[in-house]
């Protein structure tokens, strides 16, 4: 029974009234944020982070993780009803979900999405709980050279399965994040770097205002040009699924769950890629290929299962290695640092209550989301009628207040506005913003590990040659960069849907 003790302890933490309440707040806010255009999970987590500073770390992280879950559900609502995904990982759901809605089956599309998400989420939490200690156990003895290898995997991995120019863009953004992370005091020698005599910059560039600027304000700037589409109505009685709907969805949900989880564990792959790959698989194996893109329920069930399973998968490297599996887990990783918790291989050893409590809260969050989403989907859907003209001043106000509140100084707000300008141009040239954040978070870890490695080798980095695990991790980084290009060359040209892969 000893093996189950941490799990039981985790559920005790997650089921305390206080944490349950904040989990519920997180999933409700997440659903709303996910369905509103221009507010993805990373933006939501970034906007809410300053508000959680007064909470216990475990409570704050449970709420932020709940929000992450909720955005996956909420994103589906806007994908199905307005064909305008609030969340990148639900882009695929527009293909068949929106078509179902146009045929008067919006309720069924939302219902199967909620059921698929719940089943995948619930099953993969078991996998997460089983695999996390194994990963952490392997990584717990890592020394500084191995940590360098691990951080490089994380930095390189965020380019995910992209290739060609998109890979170059992702890597350039990661390098930019690492470069910006060097601004301020050098922790080893106290040398001031790139401060240009400004006291404000001495402490470095905080990542939260950068996230707020890059994701929230820059998104508002981009959305300000767009014309909204009118949502399709979803009624409560439409939510009832037929026996045929359930029969057709069973296998896609199973395949989406497995594929989504394992793709989610790959650094950088994330929920968006998982949903696209699953859609592609379903299209290939289905006997009703001709229905795909025209309202096939399998095209909603599989990807929806995959994106929720991938969220859990992404937490495996995040919680056990300190390497985020997606853009949003990169931001969540920053939340750990905000609360003075160092993510990495020792996290499960040092903070077992927090890690197991957080994992158990995923299960609780999934149950809450199913309860909320099945009967209340039409109510959430009505929020799509809120005009963006009213919504974006709220986002801008929350962004500037949040950036200020982090350190109670206007500098944070100025950083957010500067990052927004950068973010707008990144969007204009289709550069992914998530690697910048990852570079900002992992940059200091990389520098510290390199410094320690340098001390171990008395300044000689040849020490890497005597550390097989570090070498293997560096080789893995090279493989992450090269394999997608090689595979793509072997496979030939891609479909329009696959080209849509976006960083989440």
């Amino acid at each position: 029974m000893d093996a189950l003790d941490p799990v039981i302890g985790g559920f005790q933490t997650a089921l305390s009234l206080h944490n349950l309440l904040f989990c519920a707040v997180g999933v409700i806010l997440g659903t709303v944020i996910g369905l509103l255009p221009g507010l993805g999970s990373a933006t939501g987590v970034a906007l809410l982070m300053p508000l959680t500073l007064g909470l216990e770390p475990v409570t704050a992280l449970i709420m932020l993780a709940g929000l992450y879950y909720g955005t996956q559900y909420g994103g589906t609502i806007s994908s199905v009803l307005v064909s305008s995904p609030g969340e990148a990982s639900t882009v695929v759901s527009t293909f068949d979900g929106y078509q179902m809605a146009r045929q008067g089956r919006a309720g069924q599309a939302l219902a199967i999405a909620a059921i698929a998400s719940f089943v995948a989420g619930t099953l993969t939490i078991v996998l997460l709980m089983a695999l996390a200690p194994v990963f952490a156990g392997i990584a717990v003895d890592f020394g500084p050279p191995e940590m360098v290898g691990l951080v490089v995997v994380g930095l390189v991995g965020v380019v995910g399965l992209s290739r060609g120019i998109q890979m170059l863009k992702g890597l350039a953004m990661g390098a930019l994040g690492v470069a910006v992370a060097t601004i301020g005091f050098d922790p080893q020698t106290a040398v001031q770097r790139f401060t240009f005599g400004s006291v404000e910059v001495l402490g470095g560039i905080q990542f939260v205002p950068v996230v707020i600027g890059l994701f929230a304000i820059a998104e508002v700037m981009s959305q300000a040009r767009a014309t909204p589409a009118d949502p399709i109505r979803a009624r409560f009685r439409d939510l009832l699924l037929t026996r045929d709907d359930l029969h057709r969805s069973r296998a896609p949900i199973g395949r989406g769950t497995v594929l989504g989880f394992f793709l989610g564990t790959l650094p950088g792959a994330g929920a968006t890629i998982a949903s696209f790959v699953t859609y592609d698989v379903e299209k290939r194996v289905s006997k009703r290929k001709h229905e795909f893109g025209k309202g096939a329920i399998e095209g909603v069930a599989g990807p929806e299962a995959a994106n929720n399973a991938a969220v859990n998968g992404a937490f495996v490297p995040t919680l056990t290695l300190g390497i985020p599996g997606s853009g949003t887990t990169a931001v969540l990783l920053g939340a750990f640092l905000l609360f003075g918790i160092q993510p990495g291989p020792l996290l499960m050893d040092k903070e077992p209550d927090l890690v197991w409590g957080l994992m158990a809260s995923f299960y609780v969050g999934n149950v809450l989301l199913l309860i909320l989403n099945l009967p209340m989907a039409p109510i959430f859907a009505s929020m799509l009628r809120v005009r963006y003209a009213v919504l974006y001043p709220v986002i801008l106000s929350a962004s500037l207040l949040g950036a200020y509140a982090l350190e109670n100084r206007m500098w944070g707000a100025w950083v957010a506005v500067g990052a927004a300008l950068v973010g707008y141009f990144l969007k204009r040239y289709d550069f992914p913003p998530a690697p910048v954040i990852l570079g900002l978070i992992l940059g200091p870890m990389l520098e510290q590990s390199l410094n320690q490695t340098s001390s171990m080798g008395s300044g000689d980095f040849g020490i890497f040659l005597h550390r097989p695990i570090a070498l293997a991790l560096l080789a893995l980084s090279v493989a992450i960069l090269l394999v997608p290009t090689i595979v793509a060359r072997l496979r030939g040209p891609r479909s329009g849907a696959e080209r849509q892969l976006i960083d989440d």
């Binding site: 146009r102 959305q223 207040l401 008395s458």
Partner: protein, 169 residues
């Protein structure tokens, strides 16, 4: 297809930033007491930026069409039937800069009227003048923003928001 100057710009900017970090890294010292110095990391990141920037400048990065809430494309890449008709309206093209100017104005005005009032003024102005909402709608939404912000940030989180010199701050 000819690569335009606009398409080379992102790579050139990244490369220039990279050169800046390389120069800074050299100045701070790459080696310190026989070990890694404070300049090594900026130098490595700078070199990566120079290399990647150069590659992007050579390849060229064309700007994408205006981003927005236009519905997602279908699996074959063709526009969705729910497409809202694009962002052709000329005044919408200027909106990103109106939004950006508004947030800069808020930060500048904060020293005089405080952050909360500056945000209220921005919200009201954007809804009334840019989005052309009715006065009472803009006023009600602004009031809601102010009340919620006050409740969350001042009452609940006890954040000492700047009040500005005109209000005795």
């Amino acid at each position: 297809m000819r690569t335009t100057v606009e398409a080379r710009l992102p790579g050139l900017v990244l490369g220039a930033l990279g050169i800046g970090f390389c120069v800074g890294g050299q100045r701070y010292g790459v080696v310190h007491d026989g070990r890694m110095g404070p300049g090594l990391m900026p130098l490595l990141a700078g070199l990566a930026l120079v290399g990647l920037g150069a590659a992007l400048a050579v390849a060229g990065v064309a700007p994408v069409a205006a981003a927005g809430r236009s519905p997602s494309p279908s699996p074959d890449g063709s526009p969705s039937p729910g497409a809202a008709g694009g962002d052709a309206a000329a005044d919408r093209a200027a909106r990103p800069w109106v939004v950006f100017g508004s947030v800069v104005a808020v930060l500048l005005a904060t020293a005089f009227i405080g952050l909360l009032l500056a945000l209220g003024a921005m919200s009201f102005a954007l809804m009334l003048l840019v989005e052309r909402l009715r006065v009472w709608v803009a006023a009600a939404a602004t009031l809601a923003i102010l009340v919620l912000s006050w409740l969350i940030f001042i009452r609940l989180l006890a954040v000492p928001l700047p009040v500005g010199v005109l209000l005795g701050g």
